[in-house]
């Protein structure tokens, strides 16, 4: 089976490379490939050259991303993060790419005279590629002074990611196996109990440490954490998790080798655990249905049957129907798992803001995080929330049969993502504004309020104009926008995304200019009379300008929608 696995991998890789080379005959891929290669080259060699040049000039380059106090605690913090992830995986199992058999794999390999263990081994070997790619990206971005440290980082991250992947697979298979294990159920669920026990031990140690001494600074938090997990039962409980990330912090090859050997040993234990759970594969295969059929990069989102957000009125503007349609899509996509993942992300964001921003107190941390997140939502939200024409290009053959004015379709498609992103930005912005005193204690209330309210007024304009630009790109260059659930890969696709991003920002800046100039004139003219409050009418004028532009743009995009040919929409290789 191992030979067959490598044969499939070799053929797949060869055909993929050939296919990608062939598509370079199309200018859009060629241009993308040039830009993508330039970017990667710059990312890898530019950084190295920069460090070499700095070294020649005698400048000391930072050797690590994290401050020394934090780096010393790296294995414990990384291990604790892995432990939390492990507990989260048991509580809320999510699909893993390792069990994603394609239709062809399922139809050919599942019916072949192969054991389930061989199939697991096959997927295990195949999944190494994608994980390795992720680790390579990390190694490129890893802020290390030496190429040796970079390679050590690559090896460690690869192993850690594979271990996470294996663990998730083990959890999925364990749960499946538990349904058929009968009397052995307790034995099957033993790893779950062990994980929870380890977490409880560490959590109890942390709680005891928190009670012993108050924490006021980040430094104190570090010290408390180090004391809590660095000795006794907590250290033992955390050991397998910390051991997986410890080689990442090794300062030399001599220190790295024994640490890596321990990590490999833990990985081997995980492999053994997963392989002996092979009986669960059939259950997973049956219960996951289509999900297991589709490889992860091409997987379409799954929706849950849920009461509608509101009932669509039978009369009204067509834009309303599009908003309603997209709202159903959002609400039926969001489930408990997504909310928990979002909560974890928010908690992590707050933690990072607290550490990097050296904040004092919860109010300051919350205000800092809310302000950062509000800006992030406004700037990046329209790129992330794609429930508009970017996704609906896949439904073009339905949309184009509807008797709706093209401009109304474009407007309707844009509205919902703009509403969602604006609502999130406003929510976070209001939190930041209400706690702004803790963040900008030296700034007067009037300026803080005027600036904050002006920012809130400007947010929908920024969001709407970005949404319009993204949808305009989808209409004018549909070949560059992947259809729903698809994510083309390769250097050329990376280059395409970079070009689109650059073009989007350029167009955004140009589109904001008239509003900014008008608002600026107003500010200059009345600043002396009403002080900082002039920011608010200035923002209103700027927003009004952008709204008019958006309206005009959607009208202008109508003919592009009308003449859009479904055959020009990107299809995955």
């Amino acid at each position: 089976m191992i030979g067959a696995t490598f044969y499939i991998m070799r053929c797949s890789a060869k055909n993929r490379v050939l296919r990608r080379l062939q598509r370079l005959r199309e200018p859009r891929y060629l241009v993308g490939a040039i830009v993508g290669t330039a970017y990667l080259g710059f990312a890898i060699f530019g950084r190295m050259l920069g460090r070499a040049s700095a070294a020649r000039r005698g400048r000391q380059m930072p050797t690590a991303l994290l401050p020394p106090a934090f780096a010393a605690l790296g294995p414990a913090i990384g291990g604790f993060a892995l432990m939390v992830l492990a507990v989260g995986t048991w509580l809320l199992p999510s699909a893993t790419g390792l069990l994603s058999f394609s239709s062809a794999e399922k139809e050919i390999l599942f019916t072949a005279p192969l054991t389930r263990r061989q199939l697991l081994l096959y997927r295990l070997i195949r999944s190494q590629w994608s994980v390795l790619f992720g680790a390579v990206i990390f190694a490129i971005a890893y802020p290390s002074a030496t190429s040796g440290a970079r390679i050590r980082g690559l090896a460690t991250v690869w192993l850690a990611l594979m271990a996470c992947n294996l663990f998730m697979t083990g959890v999925t298979l364990t749960r499946a196996r538990a349904t058929i294990a009968g009397a052995a159920r307790r034995l099957v669920l033993l790893p779950q109990s062990l994980t929870f026990l380890a977490f409880l031990v560490v959590a109890a140690g942390l709680l005891a440490a928190v009670r012993r001494a108050p924490i006021e600074t980040a430094r104190q938090a570090f010290d408390m954490f180090a004391a809590a997990v660095g000795s006794g039962a907590a250290r033992v409980a955390l050991f397998p998790f910390a051991a997986l990330v410890r080689p990442l912090f090794a300062e030399s090859l001599t220190a790295f080798i024994p640490q890596y050997a321990v990590a490999v040993l833990i990985y081997a234990v995980l492999v053994g655990w997963v392989l002996q759970l092979d009986a669960g594969l059939d259950v997973v295969s049956e219960t996951t249905g289509d999900r297991i059929d589709t490889p992860r990069p091409f997987r379409k989102p799954t929706y849950r049957e849920r009461a509608p957000a509101w009932t669509l009125a039978l009369q009204g503007r067509p834009e309303g129907a599009f908003v309603w349609k997209a709202a159903q899509q959002t609400f039926r996509r969001v489930d408990r798992g997504l909310i928990i993942r979002l909560a974890v992300l928010l908690a992590w964001g707050m933690f990072v803001v607290t550490i990097i921003g050296r904040t004092r107190g919860i109010a300051q941390a919350l205000a800092g995080f809310a302000a950062f997140a509000a800006v992030f939502a406004t700037v990046m939200g329209p790129q992330i929330v794609r429930s508009d024409l970017r996704q609906d290009l896949a439904n073009l053959d339905v949309l184009q049969t509807w008797p709706v004015r093209p401009a109304a379709v474009v407007r309707g498609e844009i509205l919902w993502p703009a509403i969602v992103v604006t609502a999130v930005a406003w929510f976070l912005g209001v939190i930041a504004l209400s706690m702004s005193a803790s963040l900008f204690s030296r700034t007067g209330l009037q300026l803080r309020m005027a600036f904050g309210i002006a920012a809130l007024i400007l947010a929908p304009a920024l969001v709407l104009s970005q949404c319009t630009i993204h949808n305009a790109t989808a209409l004018l260059f549909p070949g560059w926008i992947p259809a729903d659930g698809q994510r083309p890969r390769g250097v050329d696709a990376l280059g395409q995304r970079l070009i689109l991003l650059g073009a989007t920002w350029l167009v955004l800046i140009i589109s904001l200019l008239p509003g900014a100039i008008a608002g600026g004139i107003l500010w200059l003219a009345f600043r002396r009379f009403i002080g900082a409050w002039i920011l608010i009418p200035s923002a209103l004028v700027a927003t009004l300008f952008v709204l008019v532009e958006v309206l005009m743009a959607t009208e202008a995009l109508g003919p592009a929608y009308e003449s859009l040919d479904i055959s020009s929409v990107e299809r995955i290789e």
């Binding site: 129907a321 159903q328 184009q400 509807w402 003449s563």
Partner: protein, 251 residues
């Protein structure tokens, strides 16, 4: 005429998928569109539905030019494609409601109820497409097309995925709608269906119309006389795939 097509053409690069195609469909008429794979049937139907832009020619639907007055033309038209394409996040009932809003359907509730019963979708109103079989999804697409009073119905392989009861039901539905005055253009490889329900048959091959008329009219054509009154034989003869002894060597 409910549908009037004049010199319709569509090219993909150097390939002419449909070339100088002209025909009319009158209200109450059911026209079968048949042809081998790649003949241009689906391209024709998709151009009539407004999904594909013709490279040449003109289409009018119920008197409205599809290029000049697309909204009015589309309002009178229902297209039921072979591949059931539904929004994965909308239930069956919500699909119908969305269509009702977009097409301004009066008396929607009663119509939807009747249609759900007629197409045996009762009990599935709150199901998402992902929970439905292919045949059921096909029925939902058909329900979306029929929930409004379209004067022109375009069917692309309407029986694909349906069970025997569904096929019978679909056949009856098509005939009933035509009797009520709708113009029906139906593309199918099931020649017995075409022969049974269509008042006229149009045969396409390599983007061209190669025959047009009732089965009897086609059978009476001098060059097709040897094929008899069997649509399959006529089809094979017209498209040059007839291998029987008396078939001409080439078209």
């Amino acid at each position: 005429m409910a549908i009037s097509v004049q010199a319709l053409g569509r090219t993909y690069g150097s390939l002419a998928a449909v070339d100088a195609l002209s025909f009319d469909v009158a209200p109450g008429e059911i026209v079968g569109l048949i042809g081998p794979n790649g003949a241009g049937k689906t391209t024709t139907l998709r151009m009539l539905a407004g999904i594909l832009k013709p490279t040449s020619g003109r289409v009018t639907v119920a008197g409205f030019d599809l290029a000049q007055a697309p909204i009015e033309a589309k309002r009178r038209l229902a297209f039921m494609p072979d591949e059931p394409h539904l929004f994965e996040y909308l239930t069956v009932e919500e699909h119908l409601r969305l269509i009702a809003r977009l097409y301004t359907v009066p008396d929607f509730e009663a119509r939807a109820r009747a249609l759900i019963g007629e197409l045996q979708l009762a009990g599935k109103e709150r199901s998402l497409p992902g929970e439905l079989s292919r045949g059921m999804r096909q029925k939902v697409v058909i329900a979306c097309g029929l929930v409004r009073d379209a004067s022109v119905l375009l069917f692309d392989e309407p029986l694909t995925g349906l069970d025997p009861m569904g096929i019978r039901l679909m056949r009856e539905t098509i005939v009933r709608r035509a009797r009520a005055g709708a113009a029906v253009l139906l593309s199918s490889h099931l020649l017995h269906l075409v022969e049974e329900v269509c008042s006229r048959v149009m045969i396409m091959d390599r983007g061209h119309k190669v025959a047009d008329g009732s089965v009897h009219e086609l059978a009476a054509r001098a060059d097709l006389a040897a094929a008899g009154s069997n649509l399959e034989q006529i089809f094979l003869r017209v498209t040059g795939h007839d291998t029987s002894a008396d078939a001409p060597a080439s078209r």
